[in-house]
């Protein structure tokens, strides 16, 4: 009975995710956290595409997320693009940066990948830091103002928190539907094949490096979109968006929730942000408990929260 239910659930995972997003802001103790769960959840979903499905551990995803955030912010501020154009540019920027980093980093394998992506992302950070004329440098990109969302005759008030939430939730739900489609495609199967058995994939005629780069680019598109949404939401792009800490955060979120599962990264983002917010109520040193929880997760719950739940099904 339960197994049947879960199989059916898996088929309609994008729809289920959309339903979950619909009720999320009413479930959380902190309303403001809901939007962050959406954005970071999408970011973690993008990261999961390379780590969970292709098996590449990237420690440089901040460059993809931050690149998207800066591109969206600059498109609104300097180019005067409409909001959807700016978001599209963020997505493209994320994918583009991912292309460059991916092409370089996939020249190495295994353990090197994490180090190379970390170093290259650090390079992007310094570039943005130096180019203060364009990016605002240390102060971040300020003054991004978006009050109205207009599409197909709709005129939505982006300042209202709940409207804002549902606008962003709609975009995230569409992105999840796209992801679900990618994972269900033959390419999705090839990605998992590369993760599970590289030699066999090669023997089957799969261009392993091309799959890795393409997955990284797709991951960059999702991460860039998430970054763009954050730029619209915060009305500023802080330089910390490109920081090593942001790369580490998405790794933690994805692993807490469960790498290689569809819902895991979102659950991870939710748990991470709730933990962070709860600790912040009593102390500013949230990194200590978060680090301990993460270490415990690596040691005792390597499949993550959702990954463990999904396996635990009575036959």
């Amino acid at each position: 009975m339960i197994a049947v239910f879960l199989t059916r659930a898996a088929r309609h995972r994008a729809l289920l995710a959309a339903l979950f997003l619909l009720v999320l802001p009413f479930l959380l103790p902190f309303r403001a956290t809901a939007v962050n769960v959406l954005i970071d959840g999408l970011f973690a979903v993008g990261f999961n595409l390379v780590y969970g499905y292709v098996g590449l551990l990237s420690f440089g995803h901040a460059a993809l997320f931050g690149g998207g955030a800066y591109a969206t912010g600059l498109a609104l501020l300097r180019l005067g693009l409409p909001w959807y154009g700016a978001l599209a540019l963020g997505l493209v920027a994320g994918a583009g940066i991912a292309g460059v980093i991916g092409l370089l980093a996939t020249r190495t394998r295994g353990i090197y990948f994490a180090m190379v992506t970390l170093a290259l992302a650090e390079c992007v950070y310094y570039l943005a830091y130096q180019a203060s004329g364009v990016t605002g440098g240390e102060n971040g990109l300020r003054g991004i103002v978006l009050t109205k969302i207009d599409l197909f005759g709709l005129d939505l008030d982006f300042v209202d928190p709940l409207t804002r939430y549902f606008v962003i939730a709609t975009i995230v739900a569409l992105a999840l539907a796209a992801l679900s489609r990618i994972l269900a495609s033959p390419f999705g199967a090839v990605m998992e094949m590369v993760r599970e058995n590289e030699a066999r994939a090669r023997a089957s005629g799969v261009d392993v490096r091309a799959v890795r780069v393409l997955a990284f680019v797709l991951s960059g598109a999702f991460s860039g979109l998430a970054g763009g949404l954050q730029a619209l939401h915060l009305a500023i792009v802080p330089i910390e968006t490109l920081d090593y800490g942001n790369s580490g955060m998405v790794v933690m979120m994805c692993l807490l929730g469960g790498a290689g599962t569809f819902f895991g990264p979102f659950i991870g983002a939710l748990v991470f942000l709730l933990l962070q917010n709860l600790v912040a109520l009593v102390s500013s040193h949230w990194q200590l408990p978060v680090g301990v929880v993460f270490m415990a997760c690596v040691l005792f719950l390597p499949r993550g929260i959702w990954g463990q739940l999904a396996r635990w099904r009575p036959a």
Binding site: L57, L104, R107, T108, R109, I111, A119
Partner: protein, 294 residues
């Protein structure tokens, strides 16, 4: 570039060597741990910061720099061994990413502990009196402390070489890196050897942090920035190779120092460009063995 003399250039290169010496120590410790345990220690930067703060504590308690030089590697080395025993060793045999992720989480904990006990602000770290000032090294005056850093690095590397190549334990370590299974069959407790190696790596990281402290002051985040640099050194030099760590470390130090002179705005980016070029031409690094990469 008027007024640029050969002496200035030589001095700048020498400054780069002093900076590179710190990279060499950091990368050596990382390479040692990786070569033996196939663990990439993401907390290596945190041990670096911990070493600097431990030194600060020794001075604050009334000790002097020489005492710190002795105490710091012992403290960070013992802590490293405790970490290996309590945390890392449970992950041997699992995926290669797992110990990396664990030490990443550990770096959060260690850095936050530093913030809790020593504050979030950076602190100044005085150059020890005996090493203050500058000496004439033939091409101009050079800060004595930087010379000391270079000399200490050479000494540490020489002692490490002696230990690995000329002692019985060193022999066991080298053999264990090649074939741990045979070592176990021969009756060697490889778990203890690995703990020792992990502690040795973190001891050198702590010492590097202490040596770097008078050059840059101490701050809880000092390890995060240098971790990326140490990765660049490791990628350029080749993982698991001590010779690679030394040559790449010095090269990176000199490049940082020279770009600071010629193109200050490119200073932070130059070493990443170097890494990109190395990745394109020789992905396994100068001395890397292709077999260690997967």
């Amino acid at each position: 570039m008027a007024g640029l003399s050969l002496d200035l250039l030589a001095l700048q290169i020498f400054t780069g060597l002093a900076l590179g010496a710190v990279y060499v120590l950091l990368a050596t410790g990382m390479s040692l741990i990786f070569g033996m345990l196939t663990v990439v220690n993401f907390a290596h930067g945190a041990f670096f910061a911990l070493g600097a703060y431990a030194g600060f504590l020794v001075l604050a308690l009334g000790g002097n720099f020489w005492l710190a030089l002795l105490a710091v590697p012992i403290v960070t080395g013992l802590l490293g061994m405790a970490v290996e025993w309590g945390l890392v060793r449970h992950l041997y045999g699992r995926g290669i990413d797992d110990p990396l992720l664990l030490t990443f989480g550990l770096s959060y904990v260690l850095v936050e502990l530093i913030r809790i006990f020593a504050g979030t602000q950076g602190l100044p770290f005085d150059t020890p009196d005996a090493l203050a000032g500058a000496v004439d090294i033939g091409i101009g005056y050079f800060p004595l402390y930087r010379l000391f850093v270079i000399a200490m690095t050479v000494t540490i590397l020489f002692l490490l070489w002696l230990f690995l190549e000329r002692t019985r334990i060193g022999l066991i370590i080298r053999a264990g890196a090649r074939d741990p299974e045979i070592m176990r069959v021969l009756g060697v407790d490889t778990g203890r050897v690995w703990r020792l190696v992990f502690g040795l790596g973190t001891a050198i990281a702590g010492l590097a942090g202490l040596l770097a402290a008078p050059l840059q002051g101490v701050s809880p985040e000092m390890g995060n920035a240098i971790l990326a640099d140490a990765f660049v050194v490791t990628v350029v030099g080749g993982m698991g190779s001590l010779a690679g760590a030394i040559i790449a470390g010095l090269l990176v130090g000199v490049i940082v120092s020279l770009t600071a002179l010629f193109a200050p705005e490119a200073g932070d980016v130059a070493i990443f460009a170097l890494m990109a070029v190395v990745l394109l031409i020789r992905p396994q690094g100068f001395f890397g063995r292709a077999g260690l990469m997967s």
